[in-house]
């Protein structure tokens, strides 16, 4: 057992349901106790979805516990088939019902006999994988199913599209800014003269899946969702894929260059350099922001980054490489894919933290006292407590991550949005600090976090008075550095002289 107050990624069935309900005209049946259908609430409330969520629970109640589901699951599948005429019905248990070890595959087969729709059991271990892994797995499963089905029927297309084309894989409901990212990626592809052959799963019909092999390449913008599918399509059809997340000016350019290389290898003859150059220097404002005085003032400021692999890695690179901000540590909660993250960010930060324990992250933030945090909603709240501004860059999703206005993280407009996020995070923090310095209305006693109260060092009253003249937001640092300096030299008393000697010595 684990004492848990909070989790960064949801349980497996949430991932399965996100993929299933992203498709058009696919219905999911949850084999689950009452109340486990809160996915419907999340989708309806967080995403302000206008339509009913196509997920129905087949309730595990005391009867089911006592005597098994018997006809209940099959009845629910066939009923939905009749009511909604979905193309596909996906059956999934939850953590709870998966323990019952009922033969769900058998239910699916029985239901298939009667239902017009295809019926699939989502093949996921609910205790070993989380939401993200399950989503990846379910998407792969559905794609394979329809490719195999088409192959059997001889309906698989053999030719590529005439013009260069792409499948965008991994855009899904309840994904962090996914819808705006998708719009931006489509615009980007249009700029490059690349046709969008398919976007999956969001808004796609399962009938389209057989056409996936027509694309020249696959684009997997998110590390967490789509790689299994892209790998399958590569193995099966030799479709190359690009999994460089186009987030930030540099990585967007790298993504486009990779696309260029891949499609030129297939007979196209494109040169995106001028496009990249023009976007970078004159259309996107992000490169100019990096060079501008506003960003110069951020040089060397300390930040920490935490999130899923995709966003934490991308933001770390942007902060360190494009803005000259000092990333003290970068972390991910995607423990299952930690090696990739380490490899991506190691050269851009002092330390890498891999954990899904929010308490450990809170402590790590308090320890380094960054000027800004880029993290999830949880880190935003840690920041509120510590009086450190936080820009939210990753799921777990929250209604604020479904803005109505256009706010992509990807592509060139994404670079603008990220520049705003970074700038505002630092400057709103600075504004509070300035108000404090100038005796503004927000003056607060700053928590001298992490400074041990029972220090062995005596501060003279003068030194204490001098310390109190220092603005609160650097006072803790000055105090710690001075004490370290004094301790190293075996001083037992800190006078004003010691204080300034410490400053000269360590730049405290």
């Amino acid at each position: 057992m684990k004492l848990a107050y909070w989790m960064y990624a949801g349980p497996a069935h949430i991932g399965t349901l996100r993929v299933a309900s992203s498709f058009k005209n696919v219905h999911a049946i949850m084999h689950a106790p009452l109340g486990d259908d809160y996915f419907n609430v999340m989708r309806s409330m967080l995403e302000r979805e206008r339509n009913f969520t196509p997920v129905t629970a087949s309730i595990v109640d005391r009867h089911v516990l006592a005597r098994g589901s018997q006809e209940k699951v099959v009845d629910n599948i066939t009923r939905k088939d009749a009511e909604e005429h979905p193309d596909l019905i996906v059956l999934t248990p939850t953590c709870t019902s998966s323990i019952l070890q009922e033969d769900l595959q058998n239910f699916v087969e029985r239901a298939s006999l009667e239902a017009k729709a295809d019926v699939l059991l989502a093949d996921v271990n609910h205790y070993r994988v989380n939401e993200l892994q399950a989503a990846d797995r379910t998407l792969d499963q559905i794609v394979r199913y329809y490719i195999e089905k088409a192959r059997k029927k001889g309906e698989l297309p053999t030719a590529k599209t005439e013009k260069p084309s792409v499948n965008i894989i991994g855009v899904s409901t309840l994904g962090f800014h996914n819808q705006h990212d998708c719009t931006e990626l489509k615009r980007l592809m249009a700029d490059l003269g690349i046709e969008v052959n398919a976007v999956i799963p969001e808004g796609a019909s399962v009938h389209e899946l057989k056409n996936l092999p027509r694309a020249w390449f696959n684009l997997v913008p998110y590390r967490e969702l789509g790689l299994l599918t892209a790998n399958y399509l590569e193995q099966e059809f030799g479709i190359p894929y690009v999994n460089i997340t186009p987030m930030g000016v540099v990585e967007t350019a790298r993504c486009l260059r990779k696309i260029q290389q891949i499609i030129n290898a297939q007979g196209a003859n494109v040169d995106y350099e001028e496009y990249i150059n023009n976007q970078t220097l004159y259309v996107s404002q992000a490169a100019w922001f990096s060079r501008s005085i506003d960003c110069q003032n951020l040089t060397g400021k300390k930040a920490v980054v935490f999130g899923d692999n995709t966003h934490a890695a991308a933001i770390t690179k942007i902060l360190a490489r494009e803005m000259g901000i000092h990333v003290v540590w970068a972390g991910t909660y995607c423990k299952y894919d930690a090696d990739w993250f380490r490899e991506q960010v190691s050269e851009y930060c002092d330390e890498v933290i891999i954990t899904d324990d929010h308490g450990a992250i809170g402590d790590a933030i308090a320890r380094v006292e960054p000027s800004a945090i880029f993290g999830t909603q949880m880190e935003r709240h840690v920041g509120k407590r510590l009086d450190i501004p936080c820009g939210v860059i990753a799921a777990p999703i929250h209604i604020q991550n479904f803005p109505i206005g256009y706010k992509p993280f990807m592509g060139y407009e994404g670079t603008n949005q990220i520049a705003d996020l970074v700038y505002n995070s630092f400057t709103l923090g600075m504004e509070d600090h300035l108000l404090e310095i100038f005796g503004g209305h927000d003056t607060k006693e700053v928590i001298t976090k992490g400074i041990s109260a029972d220090t062995d060092l005596a501060w003279t009253r003068e030194a204490q008075a001098e310390l109190n003249k220092i603005p609160g937001f650097v006072r803790g640092k000055v105090k710690r550095n001075t004490e370290k300096f004094a301790r190293d030299r075996n001083f037992t008393e800190i006078t004003v002289e010691v204080m300034y000697a410490a400053k000269e010595s360590v730049g405290a």
Binding site: M1, K2, L3, A4, Y5, W6, M7, G10, P11, A12, H13, I14, A32, P33, L34, G35, D36, D37, Y38, N40, V41, M42, S44, M45, R48, E49, R50, N51, F52, T53, T56, A57, I59, V60, D61, R62, L65, N76, E83, E84, H85, T94, C95, T96, I99, L100, H126, Y127, R128, N130, M378, H381, P396
Partner: protein, 466 residues
């Protein structure tokens, strides 16, 4: 207890394919209500993710509840349940030192047949903190039943008899303390004289502190003294329950607690309508008075005055129709009040109907319909949401009271909705809060009055097929 069944009401039962929250959500309000408690929900990631999404911001407030998350080793019984729970409870003791730890046993603990009731006494004596076990989970019917389960378990822990002298007992009780706050002994004595002599009365149901005060004062006006509430503000202040004490519930979803109080604690249950709406509150007070042989004073005037104050809101709903999809078991009481306000209610969906415990409320519903001259609602137990939506399309009610999963889709189709869950969290009991119920009920109507000229009714392109 009134046993007469209001046969005229039409009860149906559907498939049970309805959406509601999991009963474990009761921890959200119970941990706040019982200030020295800690709630440990023993379940899976699925339970934990529900809590963090449903409770939203609360998690950040360092709540006094947590998950004991079952991992693969727990499920496959490779790990020892006792040792695992001991480790966690010791940590909770170290970090928070609560007066009580409430174990919420989820579905999973039932499936893997975890013997929580067996483990708790042993661990309780080992770590020295009371452990209350409540099986509040999705094998029940409505999320409010979580509270019922917890209160039923706590009823067993109420002291058997007044442990100390009477004056000190007074001190023990938080509500009494509040009412006596800063008063001298003589004043207290004088105050005692304001009460009629009657057998002790304990109220059950978790209400916000201001509402507790209001209902306590309401009864005091009739000379009735409330000896205690289950739950109290602190676990250490649970009310004394002696055999023969009278008990009365404030919420319709507390049938298990009522049964426990009657069967295990030998208390006498006063079966009344629930104190929701001026009509219900008046009936509730009247019923309690009648049991104690008291003639109510000024109740007519009080009710009339409250109704007068509601008139501006009532005007907005009079003649309109409301459809309850069914969620929290407050449906009958709310429908009865809304009908009294002049609405019609074609259908009351309700996840679970204890006709015994709700008998007085059902009778009052029937009476209200007759008096208001409207048709009796169809009461649909274990409703089927899909079927209900079809009926809503046909009936076109002015307002649908529904769970969170259906509100936005119905609004997008031009149907006014109100979240049922809000009635659970808002202060709706007693005379004082009647206006708050109507504030909630009329909000979508007021809002959509604002918007009605804009023609933004249908916000989906083709009517979805559901």
């Amino acid at each position: 207890m009134t046993l007469a069944q209001p046969e005229a009401l039409n009860f149906e039962c559907e498939t049970g394919n309805y959406h509601t929250f999991c009963p474990i959500s009761c921890v959200a309000w119970l941990y706040q209500k019982i200030e020295d408690s800690f709630f440990l929900v023993i379940g899976t990631k699925t339970c934990g993710y529900f809590l963090q999404n449903a409770m939203g911001v609360m998690i950040f407030a360092e709540p006094r509840y947590a998950m004991a998350e079952l991992e693969e080793g727990d499920i496959s019984a490779q790990l020892n349940d006792y040792e695992e729970l001991k480790r966690l409870c010791e940590q909770i003791k170290r970090d928070r030192n609560p007066s009580v730890i409430v174990w919420i046993g989820t579905c999973t603990t039932e499936i893997i047949k975890m013997d929580l009731e067996g483990l708790a006494p042993k661990l309780e004596s080992e770590i020295g903190i009371p452990i209350v076990v409540a099986r509040a989970n999705g094998l029940d019917y409505a999320f409010t039943q979580g509270e019922d389960t917890v209160l039923a378990a706590m009823a067993a822990r109420c002291p058997n008899e007044a442990p100390v002298a009477e004056t000190e007992k007074n001190e023990r009780n938080a509500i009494q303390k509040l009412l006596h706050f800063g008063k001298k002994k003589e004043e207290l004595a004088q105050e005692e004289s304001e009460y009629v002599n009657h057998p002790p009365l304990v109220l059950f149901g978790s209400l916000p502190d201001p509402v507790v005060t209001q209902l306590t004062l309401e009864l005091k006006k009739q000379g009735i003294k409330v000896s205690g509430w289950l739950p109290a503000k602190r676990y250490t202040e649970l009310p004394v329950l002696e055999e023969g004490y009278y008990v009365v519930g404030v919420n319709p979803f507390l049938s298990r607690t009522a049964t426990t109080l009657m069967r295990r604690r030998k208390c006498k249950l006063i079966g009344a309508p629930f104190p929701i709406g001026p009509d219900g509150t008046r009936a509730w007070v009247e019923k309690i008075c009648s049991v104690f042989g008291i003639t109510p004073k000024g109740l007519d005037e009080r009710e009339a005055q409250i109704w007068a104050n509601l008139e501006d809101y009532v005007q907005l709903i009079r003649g309109k129709s409301a459809f309850f999809m069914g969620d929290n078991l407050l449906e009958i009481s709310l429908a009865r009040f809304l009908i009294r306000c002049g609405m019609t209610v074609p259908e009351i969906g309700i996840p679970y109907m204890d006709k015994r415990y709700q008998a007085a409320e059902l009778a009052m519903l029937e009476k209200t319909c007759q008096e208001m001259g409207v048709a009796l609602p169809k009461i649909v137990e274990k409703p089927d949401n899909y079927n209900q939506v079809q009926r809503i399309y046909e009936l076109k009610p002015d307002l649908v009271i529904t769970g969170m999963a259906h509100a936005n889709p119905l609004e997008a189709r031009g149907i006014n909705t109100k979240w049922s869950v809000e009635f659970t969290f808002a202060q709706i009991h007693g005379f004082t809060n009647a206006r708050d119920i109507l504030e909630l009920v009329t909000r979508p109507l007021r809002r959509n009055n604002n918007l009605k000229d804009l023609g933004w009714d249908k916000l989906v392109k083709e009517e979805a097929k559901i």
